[in-house]
């Protein structure tokens, strides 16, 4: 078992040696790794490390390597969404979050593996092959930000960025035993995040502990004029985190403990809730009656938006281009050859849902369900401060186990997608193990109330040791 790394350890390491040395030790680990957590490793980052060593930097992340999900645009580093269709595409600009990271001195060490276009729960649909779960290489790391979670667990990066459309940060955080936050919709600018489902997704940090997630949020959050849905102001979570849940009111939505939940997962989550009670919090059961409709509504909205978002990949300007006598043939072939099966399935379903005659039946109805799900959260969170649920109903499943059965994969997202429909913040923290595989506790808060869920997660972490060990090197 290894020990989890964190930002403050890295910074003292850098102070003792240099950014370059720290970065190189990470690059060495990555080169030896078998988990396939990165889609692109950016060796040239050494130049930036040298620059920081030479000229100094007073940023909070000065010299700290950060892994960035492959759907977040990085100037000069290929950004492919792990799809063949973006083969060879290197953005000419940085996403807002990457600009923020760089301005604090962080070094992008590489792009992390993911489900193609963030469509998946297992990181198996990547065109670069699956990422393996560092705790058990026969298991999936979760998805779609599987690479971003796995490289933290295997210490191939101290912190990373993922994106969460329906659980894509929290699911792999849960499966890989790390901390992952999906911020309130509008908290982090999406400028530069390659859209899958715009109205649902947010970029979120993953790290070994809650403090690091708080630091990352302070860096990447805040208003950006280039994203019209960005609303929040700068925050200072890192300096306000306290080990204190006295009087915290916890709501337990029964609907999240329903059919399909693994008994050991359920037990671990209840142990966590009891632990909170021991620490001074209170809990009560709450009802969220529309939960059962959330999954279908989520998939209709996500696929509809995706069908439009992914229309731009036609081989005209960038990325993969197939042969064809004319533009229409070229564009059709490009899309047929460039997109993987799951992406094609979602584009087709989304196109269908938006079509004349079906729009009211599917898309419009899904929007109505979304409103109901939102109301569920408003009602529930009017009486309690946070909601607690299992992040995932099970621990990590076997590679290849569900990939042929999309419906069973979609069902795995049942506890995470309602959060995206409502736009509220949610964090996954380790709360136990089953057969050596990590279990995640999901803590959901009110809109823009990240501080409460961060503090709850932090307090839990301070009073438990589920987050103390790491699987060590994977050979």
């Amino acid at each position: 078992m290894g020990e989890p790394m964190n930002i403050s350890k890295i910074k003292s390491e850098i102070a003792k040696t240099s950014s370059e040395e720290v970065l190189n030790s990470y690059l060495e680990k990555i080169n030896k790794s078998k988990i396939n957590g990165y889609s692109t490793v950016y060796d040239e980052a050494v130049e930036e490390a040298r620059d920081i060593d030479k000229n100094g930097h007073d940023g909070i992340l000065a010299g700290v390597p950060v892994a960035v999900k492959d759907n977040i645009s990085t100037d000069g580093i290929p950004t492919t969404c792990c799809s063949r269709i973006l083969e060879g595409y290197t953005p000419p600009y940085d996403a807002h979050v990457v600009e923020r990271l760089k301005s604090e001195g962080a070094i992008v060490i590489g792009k992390t593996n993911m489900d193609e276009f963030a469509m998946g729960t297992s990181t198996e649909t990547s065109c670069y092959g699956p990422t393996l779960n560092p705790w058990d290489t026969g298991k999936v790391p979760g998805g779609s930000s599987g690479g971003s979670a796995a490289v933290i667990a295997s210490d191939e990066a101290p912190v990373s960025l993922g994106s969460d459309t329906g659980g894509s940060v929290r699911c792999p955080a849960s499966y890989c035993g790390v901390v992952g936050l999906k911020p309130t919709y509008g908290t982090v600018s999406r400028y530069g995040l390659i859209s899958y489902a715009n109205s649902l997704e947010q970029i979120g940090p993953l790290a070994n502990n809650v403090s690091d997630v708080a630091i990352m949020m302070d860096v990447i959050g805040g208003h950006d004029t280039r994203d019209s849905t960005s609303v929040s102001q700068k925050t200072n979570y890192q300096n306000t985190l306290k080990d204190d849940v006295n009087g915290l009111k916890i709501g337990i939505p029964e609907e999240y403990f329903g059919e399909g939940i693994d008994p050991e997962v359920e037990e671990s989550v209840w142990n966590a809730i009891n632990k909170f009670e021991d620490m001074g919090a209170t809990w009560e059961k709450v009802s969220m009656p529309n939960t059962s409709y959330a999954l279908s509504a989520y998939y209709i909205i996500a696929m509809s938006e995706a069908s439009s978002n992914l229309a731009r990949f036609d081989g005209t300007q960038y990325g993969y281009r197939a042969d064809g006598d004319n533009w229409h043939v070229m564009a059709s072939r490009t899309r047929a050859e460039g997109f993987g099966t799951e992406v094609q399935r979602r584009i087709l379903l989304g196109t269908y849902a938006l079509s004349a005659g079906y729009y009211d039946k599917y898309y419009l109805k899904a929007l109505k369900v979304r409103t109901l799900v939102k109301q569920d959260f408003e009602n529930a969170l009017s009486n309690v401060d946070v909601l607690m649920t299992p992040t995932m109903p099970t621990t990590a499943f076997k590679l290849g186990e569900k990939i042929k059965d999309p419906l069973s994969l979609y069902l795995a997202d049942v506890n995470t997608v309602p959060v995206n429909l409502a736009g509220v913040p949610s964090i996954s923290v380790p709360c136990g193990f089953s057969d050596g595989l990590p279990i995640g506790l999901q803590i959901i808060g009110k809109h823009f109330n990240e501080s409460t869920i961060l503090q709850a997660a932090y307090s839990f972490e301070q009073n438990t040791d589920y987050n103390a060990g790491r699987p060590g090197e994977v050979e």
Partner: protein, 473 residues
Amino acid sequence: MAEENPDGVVIGLEIHVQLNKLNSKMFCACSTDYHNSEPNSNTCPVCLGLPGSLPVINEKAVESAMKVGLALNCDIVEQTQFHRKNYFYPDLPKGFQITQYDYPIANDGKIVIESDEGEHVVRIKRAHMEEDPGRMMHIGNIEKSKGTLIDYNRSGMALLEIVTEPDIRSPKESRRFLDKLRNIIEYLEVFDSNLEGAMRVDANISLQGGSRTEVKNISSHKGAERALLYEIMRQKNIMRRGGEVTMETRHFDEEKGCTVGLRSKEAEHDYRYFPEPDLTPLRVADRVPKVTKTLPELPDAKRERFLSQYGMTEMHAKALTSDIRVSEFFEEVAKEVDPKTSASWVADVLKGELNYRELTVDAFKVEDMISIIQMVTQDKITEKSAVEVIRQILDYGGKPDEIVRENGLLKVEEDVVSKAVTETIQENEQAVNDYFAGKEKSLNYLVGQVMKKTRGRADAKEVRELLVDKLNK
């Protein structure tokens, strides 16, 4: 008398107006000056549709659109929203166009035009904002092209699509409508009609008893009349032969002046409109009072004012206000010289010379017009010379006084002419006698002599009158 429309022609227009006077595009900060720029130089991740880029609404574009809506007597919507119109085309970098669907910025307006029976109202159904696609350039011709180049400088330009009700009854009326529309929008300073692609028209047209066709790709207000004339003739001939006009979209071939079938309406795209998730709905109702205040005097109001303020003729008032630049030019001139005289010179002479040369009034300086009119009113040059000066300036440039001097156009003062006449009578006894003997031709000789003395600068007609006058005293 109702306008004659025996064929029951019904025309509705969709006019794309490019808000090309804005400094930046509809959803990004890129420059709108694509006419003078290298291809693909005014681009950024947003208007290139690069993955991860997001649109941001140009507030100035919204206000320009509101101005147009208000000037067209429309209601401005409380809250407007953008939608995505999904279709694949090489010039469309995102695979969808951001446009407006069920919450267009403006609804239910009208434009009053003149028709043969007096005023005619064309109702405006709606006006909505959208983004322009890129511009395709085919290497060789469109049918047998080796390749196509795309210039994204135009991509993301703010467009306003104005949709009329089917209230237009002839190609002539459509031309009048488009002229009036263009005139109004130019008054608002949001659009320059002289730039290529500034105004593009799609026309829906049907005859009594026939189906409606849509003619696309009419690239100017001038082309619309031609396209409609052709299409009416085509539909009439089909019906005359007992055929049926099918509902379809047709393409206007500007060069050949005809319309060509593209696709039948049944094969129409399903655009799968849905609300643009990257843009939140925009409340605009609160801004209506502020925008209303910025509305300038519009053509009809200005025409009325010209009539009462300057006492000019209806014809002059119309001619001067049908182009905002001309009206402004006139008012500058009228500050210095008599307005009625100015009106005549600007409306009758200058406008004609400009039209002949396909120039705008920007090609002529106010100060030059003033100085030319002053020379005429001070009797320094003849009206004919003044026209000559205007032509010279337009064709070769130069200053009015220089042109007058170099061409010897200055009128000779009368006492000089008078003196020359007296001298001529004294010096040509024989010719004078011949004149009194009834030889009319000798008068021509005498005129010639006077002209010689004045080196041709005298007015021959005046000289003749003066001679007769003096001889008969």
